[in-house]
């Protein structure tokens, strides 16, 4: 087959596939350097579903911080409806002291990560890790809530503290004097228990009056 015939067959093949609804993306761009994949609308659904239901926040901003998109989780984190998120830049949701840091992070572009705390509408401080990838002049940012890690850290600290207290107590109990003191306390407790038992067995004041 000659090249023009092959081209013609390919064109026919393409026509059939498009009419038959068998493709959902196209490669566009005149040369290799600016070639992109253009997805047809229905092809986005899977990604949208994934992004909307994931447990991490996702937000797309301009490099100046203007919010263009945010997923459900991000609006939950900030306790701010999406319609209100669009009205102010991302920097308004961090403390004044952190704003220059966030602005510099966004302006830097490329791929980067940053740990920064957001302030939700109810005043809760939310420590997060931002993972950013800039594509076509827009920043796609994944927002990971670090509070579970902080809570886990606090729990580990508390456990460590309890463990060291128990170890210290164990060491003290090995001392003869401590053992004697513990025995004395046990005797007192047992005595109190016996007293309570005898009081329960003896008739109460009302019973003795009527009896």
């Amino acid at each position: 087959m000659t090249e023009p015939v092959i081209d013609l067959l390919e064109a026919e093949e393409l026509r059939k596939a498009i009419i038959g609804g068998e493709v959902d993306a196209f490669v566009v761009g005149r040369d290799e350097s600016n070639q992109k994949v253009l997805l047809l609308a229905n092809a986005y659904q899977r990604y949208r579903q994934l992004v909307e239901t994931m447990q991490q926040g996702a937000v797309t901003t301009s490099l100046e911080g203007g919010i263009l998109y945010a997923n459900r989780r991000f609006t939950e984190l900030l306790r701010t409806p999406l319609t209100r998120l669009y009205t102010a830049p991302l920097q308004t949701h961090v403390s004044a002291a952190d704003r220059p840091r966030l602005s510099a992070f966004l302006a830097r572009g490329g791929r980067a990560s940053l740990e920064i705390a957001f302030n939700s509408a109810d005043g809760t401080r939310i420590p997060t890790r931002l993972s950013m990838a800039v594509y076509d002049g827009y920043a796609s940012i994944l927002v990971t809530d670090l509070r579970p890690l902080e809570w886990a850290g606090l729990a580990v600290d508390a456990l460590d503290s309890i463990r060291s207290s128990v170890e210290k107590l164990n060491a003290e109990l090995r001392e003869p004097k401590a053992r004697q003191a513990l025995d004395n306390i046990s005797e007192h407790i047992n005595g109190l228990a016996r007293l309570i038992d005898s009081l329960q067995e003896s008739p109460g004041p009302a019973e003795s009056k009527n009896g």
């Binding site: 393409l14 059939k16 959902d24 196209f26 761009g29 070639q35 092809a43």
Partner: protein, 96 residues
Amino acid sequence: MTTSDKWLLRLYTAGQTPKSLTALENLKRLCDEHLAGKYRIEVVDLLKNPRLAKDDQIVAIPTLVRQLPSPMRKIIGDLSDTERALVGLQLKKATS
């Protein structure tokens, strides 16, 4: 049916779009049924690297390219039309 010993099939996809997933599923089924034990599938995700589209002059996605046996053949679409896919791969003669 005549088939050569080695089949190298390259499927161009765009991430996990419905048609890309359908094409891969159909391709695997088709290979298992007609080329068992003598094929290799390469999946090229053009969302990750659109520049790779140039190699085989890909316009629409998904597109399957038969690299081996030569000559190269291209089948555009999700391969749900088994008849067309088999004819395209030259595993079956076209019925007029």
